[in-house]
Every structure is written in C-alpha cells, then in structure tokens.
Symmetry: C2
Subunit: 219 residues, 2 copies
Amino acid sequence: MGEVNLHGEWSSPFSYRVIWALKLKAIEFEYIEEDLSNKSPLLLQYNPIYKKIPVLVHGGKPISESMIILEYIEETWPKNPLLLPSDSFERAMARFWIKFSEEKGPTIWKIFVTSGEEQEKVKNESLEILRTIEEKGLGEKKFFGGENIDLLDLAFGWMPYWLGVIEEILGLKLLEADKFPRLHAWIKNFKQVSIIKDNPPDRDRMLIHFSSLREKLLH
Amino acid sequence: MGEVNLHGEWSSPFSYRVIWALKLKAIEFEYIEEDLSNKSPLLLQYNPIYKKIPVLVHGGKPISESMIILEYIEETWPKNPLLLPSDSFERAMARFWIKFSEEKGPTIWKIFVTSGEEQEKVKNESLEILRTIEEKGLGEKKFFGGENIDLLDLAFGWMPYWLGVIEEILGLKLLEADKFPRLHAWIKNFKQVSIIKDNPPDRDRMLIHFSSLREKLLH
C-alpha cells in the first residue's frame, strides 16, 4: 500500500486526531515533526493551499485537513476497528457532529485570546455549545460512536486535553463536573482507551507553550 | 427504501445542490417549500440544532447540512451516475475542495452586504479565492470531477447562478471572462448538463429578492 508519513506538530489537536486514528488501526507510519515558525519545503509542497499541518503522505500522495485525512484512513484501511458506522444514516449523523465540532470548536478556542467582558461573552457562548454537545451529540452513550471510540470521538479529541489546558491557563472552568456529567464520563472513557492513554499530548509542555502564546497574542 | 422528502427554499444554493443531486440520480422525491420567515414545525423538529434548510427526510429519518446530505445520497444510491470518485485518494481530493468551497464561499458572499472601501477589500479577497479555485481546483478539467459532473461541481453550484445575481445587483464583475477563462468554460459546461438546464433557480425572482434583502441588511 506504500509508505505512510505524517507531518504534524506536537501541540496540535489536529495532529493528534491523525496519530490516534493511525494507531487505532495499527498502521505503521513515520512521524515528521514540523517547526511551524520554519515550515519544511516538503510541507509547503504537500499543502500549498493552506500550508498547514497535519499532512498525511501515503505512497507519495499528500492529503491535508485532519478530518479529510481521517475519512481517508477509514476508507483505505476500513477494518480493525471500524471508525465510522456501517449504516449510511448513522454515518451521516457522525458527519453532522464532526462538522459541528469543526465549526463550533473555534468559538470555544476564541476564549483563549480574550479577557474581561469579552471573555465572559465567549464563555457563555462556549457553555451553550458544550451543552448542545453533551445533550444532543453524546446523550447517554459511552462514546460518541456508541460502545466504542470512533472518528467522532477523535473529532472531539480537543476536549479531553486542550480544553483543560486552556481552563488552567485562564483560571476558569467551562466543563464543570456537576453541570456536564456526561461529558465528564466521556472524557474518562476516552482517556482510558489504551491507544489514547499511551499517546497523550505533553500537558506540561503545552501549559508553558500556550501560556506564552497567550501573552504574545494579547500584547 | 422509503419515501424521500426534501425541505428546501427556492432561493437557496444549498437547496439546489440537493435537488440537482437527487435528479441526477433519478430519485423520486417530494419537495416541500419552506417559508424561512415562518418555518414549519416539521423543519424545527427535523433540524433542531440549526433550524435550517435543506433537510432530507428518507424513510422518516432527517439529515441536515447540504454536503452531508449529498454524501448520504451518494452512499445510499451509489450508482447511475457515481458522484464521487471510486478511488479513495481522489475522493479525499474532492472532499478537500468541497471543504474549500464551504469555507471560502461565505467570504465571497460577504461582498453582498458591503459597500465602498470595505467592498473593495472583500472583492480582492474574493478574486484571490476564485483564482485558487480556477488554477488549483479546476485546472484543465471539463468538470471539477473530470469528464462528468459530480458532487464537487454541485458544491461549487453557487458560482454559475448566485454569483452572477450578486454581480448584477452590485454592478461589479468578479468573474471576468478574460481573467477566469477556465471557470467560464466550466460554468458553460455546468449549465449544459440537462438536469441543471431543466432545473435552474429562478434568476428574475432572485434579482428582486436579493436586491430587497441587500437593502434590508445595509439599512
């Protein structure tokens, strides 16, 4: 099937989606860490439109945009385990919530570069989004995908790690355990999946990195 | 396979994507026109998250978001004709450009609610987006999908009709024939597909509708 290379960056939730998907499928790959302040010529050649990580290169062919990469992985290596429902209506529902994560995630991310009154406003918007995810997206299920982790869980993978880092840096809590009991249970389930547990992002390094990023962006 | 109903609105490019896809596949369906100023209880029940058209209801099950509907149609009725490439890398490329259309389309749409200096700025951004679509997305191909119309062409379906209406209302030209010869050839090819030719949006009514919408939004 050809060599698999992944161009990523250690602090990116989008990179981690791809790393986790490849590892869940037990696909061997070479990981190439990109310095985003000095991107490699290869990255620019592979993703000339956005010049962004992650890029998956399979047999010499580059694919960009994390969720498109994940659908590609699912279609190219469809089994062990299946990461999208086999029923086409259920698959449409998964894609609906993946799109929701892609569209609403940036709103929550915005809280990171705000303060004072603006932060309060974004916080309320974010709580509403999280409420919708909890009640309508997750519901009573163990994983977004049902009994097992799937692409939709990976799409929401920014929640278990990155959201906590942001909360810690800002000194505020969005996902309070008593207000979001289902998302809290899901985060626990997500982190207990062995592939996730064995390949977490570097929390300590992220705390330092994102603190300094916030300083730069605010001043 | 169950009844197929489509909740749409006559002036929406997102509705037309679905209408065209269903007709290209020769799927019988009932079309339900929604009054967006007074949405039907059924629409609100079917799409509680966004409360938007289009919604496809197949055998009682509702699917929202036009491109997710199109992927569902392709997966449920995969043949006659195939509307996504059968090769998974080519399919990833199609999804990359569909995402590009979804993300960049709104920037071009923004020109519609601007004037003066701001309009000039959005115009330049729009021209750059159209340049990327022409050179990197379409290239020398007859259709975005190659020799035949496919989902990617439908994703760009806002160009052949809605963009022209906007240009006429604003009295400016984005897609000049000498600057975008390939997109011009594509628009001609697109409009010659018999399903498209026989089911165009109502241009005269759109001119009146969008003119009055612009007045409302600007004042």
